[in-house]
């Protein structure tokens, strides 16, 4: 298990170093002290980048801002955003408010339990919930596109709880 977390952490850092999309492969992530300050850091960085041309790295790609974390996870048959994920969404909301040209797709996903149609609707509700919170955080409606893949695009394909947890997710997918 420790090995797995270490590997995940390594993957995250590798991915975030080379790509703007950095899916977090750890399901139901524990609340860490860093997460709560991520929003503040992100906001500061975002503000700094907006007012200064010196910053070379888009805060979106800077692991220190927390904005490289772009997946939220859910309990079974639930679309309510977990408390631990709210600072993350708020940080993305503030980032988007400082970058009105940036657009992001909110992609709701579900595990395979239930019917495909029910899951499509549930994934849509997950994505719409994230959209609503992003707007509260300062993003504009026209920057956001909420869609659902239901159970159709599982990231993890085994039929067990570990995979199901991984697949109950909303991804923030920024347009290039």
């Amino acid at each position: 298990m420790n090995k797995k977390i270490a590997l995940s952490a390594l993957l995250v850092s590798l991915l975030s170093a080379c790509a703007s999309q950095a899916p977090k492969p750890v399901a139901e992530a524990p609340v860490t002290p860093a997460a709560s300050s991520a929003a503040d850091t992100a906001a500061k960085t975002a503000t700094a980048s907006a007012t200064s041309a010196v910053v070379a790295v888009d805060p979106l790609d800077d692991p220190k801002t927390g904005l490289t974390n772009r997946s939220l996870y859910y309990a079974f048959d639930v679309d309510v955003i977990q408390e631990a994920d709210k600072p993350l969404v708020a940080a993305h909301g503030r980032y988007l408010s400082t970058r009105p040209a940036r657009k992001v797709s909110l992609e709701g996903n579900c595990d395979e339990r239930g019917s495909t149609e029910y899951n499509l609707a549930l994934g849509q509700r997950r994505a719409d919930g994230v959209k609503k919170l992003l707007v509260l955080g300062g993003a504009k409606d026209e920057q956001l596109n909420s869609i659902s893949f239901g159970e159709e695009k599982p990231r993890c394909t085994a039929h067990d709880e570990e995979c199901w947890a991984e697949n109950r997710r909303t991804d923030l997918n920024y347009a290039k």
Binding site: D77, L120, S148
Partner: protein, 419 residues
């Protein structure tokens, strides 16, 4: 090991029309012992029409196939009834090749208890369509002996997901004769037959999100009928083919709408708050009501409402959740998926008594639909983590699993009688 698996998969993909392995379990309460005698001219044709007929009948669980063991009468005058003790019916016949590439199969059905000819029929078709000729012969025998129309000539549709590719497939009711009618790198969901069997409506993600398409099975022409922001899904035709029920999320949550089958004249039917999902609409055979799935009571359950609107009545109350309702062809009940304690079952409910019946033992069993004669239910199940097609008789007694398809089979739906 992985290499070997890859090779096997590759070989598999070469034989997309490989013989299906069909496993049948259970039997009808009463089975009719019947002998299907190979038809005259069949061996010359190189097509075992009588084998297909026998397999069709066997799969219903209502017949016990008696081996003719070398006896091969083709005309009633050639039948010595003393040879056929233990049977109740014998099917005999002859194939006549016609000059224009067509075949005529003259079939006669004999009552081997009363020693009389029941009736006969002449069935025509192209020589390239021997399986469909055989299915029509099986339909004739089934209807003559049970009084219920057969469904062997009807077709089914399903989605095949394989290595990130999605295919919408139409096949014979026995799983053979697959035709891919649409392929995509993006998901395909929820195929739905038009009442005359000429079109399929379905959900495709090719535009980046779930949108509803209608495709002609005759011309292949496709029409995008709903592509609003959010999700567009769950198409269902009215029995007269004039309306399409769909689920759209454009107004805040997934709700049921009605439109013409080209997507025009859209109007909302359900009016739930933003926190509620209403989905999977299905028209009653008289076109007056809709069954649908809703989580308005806290989790997914099945409800019924008038197509004209008004209040919805909850129909399922068992512990766990219930979804994917489909009316029986007589409108007296419905089949659905019941989920409890991590297992999925195929269940029916009698709308008059409210009585629930589990048709399966439970496992990974989803998206049931009735055959148009109401005697069989097609559903998706799994074997070794891969989706397969399964059927169960509507009394739950006879089950059939169809293996050996390539890929993960999802979203099956039984088509209507072909006019």
């Amino acid at each position: 090991m992985r290499f070997l698996m890859m090779v096997l998969m590759w070989l598999g993909s070469l034989s997309a029309h490989a013989v299906l392995n069909i496993e049948i379990s259970g039997a009808g309460e009463r089975q009719i012992p019947i002998a299907i005698v190979p038809f005259e001219g069949e061996e010359k044709l190189g097509s075992p029409i009588s084998n297909v007929v026998a397999a069709d009948l066997a799969r219903t669980g209502l017949f016990r196939l008696i081996d003719p063991v070398g006896k091969n009468p083709h005309r009633p005058s050639e039948v010595n009834y003393a040879d056929w003790l233990g049977t109740e019916a014998i099917a005999i016949g002859a194939i006549v090749e016609q000059p224009n590439g067509r075949l005529e199969v003259q079939v006669r059905l004999l009552d081997s208890v009363k020693h009389v000819e029941l009736n006969g029929r002449s069935i025509n078709g192209r020589d390239t369509q021997t399986r469909s000729i055989a299915h029509r012969i099986a339909d004739y025998i089934y209807e003559t002996l049970t009084g219920v129309p057969g469904v062997f000539s009807t077709r089914i549709a399903y989605v095949n997901r394989h290595q990130g590719k999605f295919k919408l497939v139409v096949a014979d009711s026995d799983g053979y004769g697959e035709q891919v009618i649409f392929s995509s790198d993006e998901p395909i969901m929820s195929p739905s037959w038009s009442p005359d069997g000429s079109h399929l409506a379905y959900v495709s993600f090719e535009t980046g999100h779930a949108a509803v398409f209608v495709q002609s099975l005759v011309t292949g022409q496709r029409l995008k009928i709903a592509d609003y922001p959010g999700s567009n899904s769950a198409p269902a035709w009215s029995p007269d083919g004039r309306l399409m029920a769909m689920v759209l999320s454009k107004d805040g949550s997934s709700q049921i709408y009605l439109a013409k089958p080209d997507g025009s004249e859209l109007r909302r039917v359900t009016d739930s708050p933003r926190t509620v999902i209403d989905t999977e609409p299905c028209f009653s055979p008289d076109g007056q009501h809709l069954l649908f799935t809703s989580d308005r009571g806290g989790n997914a359950q099945i409800y019924r409402m008038a197509v004209d609107g008004g209040s919805a009545h909850r129909l399922t109350f068992e512990a766990g959740s219930s979804f994917s309702p489909r009316y029986s062809p007589d409108g007296l009940g419905f089949v659905y998926t019941y989920r409890n304690a991590g297992r999925f079952y195929i269940a029916t409910q009698d709308l008059t008594t409210g009585q629930m019946q589990l048709l399966t033992e439970g496992g990974w069993e989803k998206r049931p639909s009735f055959a148009p004669n109401g005697k069989l239910v097609l559903y998706a199940s799994d074997a070794q983590g891969r989706g397969i097609l399964s059927t169960v008789s509507s009394d739950g007694r006879v089950k059939q699993r169809m293996f050996a398809q390539i890929g993960d089979i999802r979203e099956p739906v039984w088509g209507p009688y072909l006019k």
